[in-house]
Symmetry: C2
Subunit: 418 residues, 2 copies
Amino acid sequence: MNINKYIFQMGQQAQQAARQLAALDTATKNCVLLAMADGITNNHSDITSANTRDLEAGRAAGLTDAMLDRLALDDDRIKAMAAGLKQIAELPDPIGQVLSVNNRPNGLTIHKVRVGLGVIAMIYESRPNVTADAAGLCFKAGSAVILRGGSEAQHSNAVIFNAMQSAGISAGLPEHAIQLIDTTDRAAVHELLQLDKFVDLVIPRGGESLIRAVAEHSKVPVLKHYKGVCHVYVDREADLDMASKIVINAKCQRPGVCNAAETLLVHEEVAQQFLPHITKELLSHNVELRGDERTQQIVEEVKPATEEDWTTEYLDLILSIRVVENLTAAIEHINNYGSHHSDVIVTADEDAASQFTRDVDSATVYINASCRFTDGFEFGMGAEIGISTDKFHARGPCGLNELTTYKYIIKGTGQIRK
Amino acid sequence: MNINKYIFQMGQQAQQAARQLAALDTATKNCVLLAMADGITNNHSDITSANTRDLEAGRAAGLTDAMLDRLALDDDRIKAMAAGLKQIAELPDPIGQVLSVNNRPNGLTIHKVRVGLGVIAMIYESRPNVTADAAGLCFKAGSAVILRGGSEAQHSNAVIFNAMQSAGISAGLPEHAIQLIDTTDRAAVHELLQLDKFVDLVIPRGGESLIRAVAEHSKVPVLKHYKGVCHVYVDREADLDMASKIVINAKCQRPGVCNAAETLLVHEEVAQQFLPHITKELLSHNVELRGDERTQQIVEEVKPATEEDWTTEYLDLILSIRVVENLTAAIEHINNYGSHHSDVIVTADEDAASQFTRDVDSATVYINASCRFTDGFEFGMGAEIGISTDKFHARGPCGLNELTTYKYIIKGTGQIRK
């Protein structure tokens, strides 16, 4: 079969499965999720072998250590996949939730009810555990899912998928509710992105270039964030001790993730006092520092920052630093150079905090806390499928609810329009 | 200035204005809306003259009577524009509304707060009153708007826009919060649809071909419905008297709108009894009838329906009719041929009603009421910008809330991630 027909058929099957999913009750869905978890556990050694094969091919192909680490599934990671599916079974079922009831004067009752989106396509790189996470979340959220993992993880993904699917089907999973594209041909992705007839949402997860390529070519709506250029702004009314702890945490605790800080902005009135101290601490954490002229005047070890630095997601132990004239200048910097992901103000001044949270145009804005908390688990969503920096549909961390839509159900007694 | 630069600058100005809008309080916004309404009223005769000019040009260009009717602004319609703006001033302000509060175990408080989308582009045809409606709704919803009306209404739109804008600015409207593209060059629309850097949402309103062209070329998310192919399904447990009234209302009360019915589905067990009666009544309302073979066997006057009929939005006094074997067949017909807009079941059987509302994949599903109620006013939203048959972001009638997004505001006391 040619690729286009294969993907078309997959889309069609997914849409039919989505309609079956709408009729599954919560108990059945949870049984399926537990069965999928058991499927993973019962195929632990097969998953390990397949992953070993992927790792060997990856090493031969010259993948970096960071890439190999993302690809690797040790015992703990395999157990975590099964545990993740069990956790999703424990989460409340979003489907059928009544979002509002509106009794109209003419006697009509309008229920706004949460329903599944339909068909979700998940396009991701490296990490094979996304295969289990995405399948579990989309299924619980009442949508069929079409998975397309990275070619470097193809053997791992196939074994994980088969383990979940065969165990799931025996517990009531509709046959095509979870599908994996089993070719590494890129034409498959291109075709999938044109299928707005069947696919309701595409979620790309991976590097910025993957996400940009998907957004560029997709006719289907995309839930995404390109990158996280997150800021910590230390206001003139900041508790500088608190500010230090937040900056170190935001930059150093896990620098390779999207909610780590990339830029430090400091109010000019506290720069002289704060910068020598915080840069010393950052340097002791092996952070490379790049700053504007005023920062360089205060701290010798700071290298010059270029215009490009302000828009760069380092994903590494590098921090850009700028001294700003005031709160407004900080907000402007964040809105102009940032990625509308997660930004922090450290201040004891409530007016400054209000202005910052109102005027910074980002998905999540923090007062006196680290931006590292932007995460579905930390937000109490139980799990997340990703983070959105778009304003359309869902913004910030996206859990089960963000994977749904709604319909209006209207009950009458024969009402007609006058 | 060339078109691209002109549109780029408009986008940039709109984004800046959107940031100013975020800081406007409700009282100021309402004063601006009342001033805009006065602006319309005070320029009543200029609007009439401009509209006369458009109508003359339209007649010369051979516009149909229906098109000229949409274009025409008589005294009542001009008064209705002003009244509409005053009504929007009365509606609750969606901006700043706290959607949820989440106190985390680590002491963080997460507020989910409704905020403006940013910049909305409105692309519409003929009806010049959309200029006032869209400007008022987007402004109250905290977004800057870029308006692009039909070339046939250009003089009317320009006078309405200038009247609203100059009156609005004197009451506190940011200068670029409402902008009108003052060229009829189509390149302007194309350029606008590429500006995802500045524009957050595009809303096309008009014929299906306009909407398809916008959706096809836009890099910006689109809120839309292509068409309304709405169904009334008369179940075997229907009150046939109620069914008649609903069918006549759904088809005849205003056939030229998207929430009018285009197809009647009848359960085979009541077809023999219902069809002779309802077709007689429809014919007396001058409705042309096109049916499947079984319908034709029962009623002589019914012409044969082609496959194309089932997907056609007639917007006219034409109805397609099909006899179905059962509820499931009715649901399948609606999901396969419909436009996911508004569909009705007439039945006294609660199980059938539940299955219908669960399995019909449409924005609004009705039990025992006419589909003509799918409308922001009828839903109690106070006003609507349009109806969405998409599942992403907003579905069904879209009022002020559907024109907004949200951000997370997180307050801490120095929390860092462990």
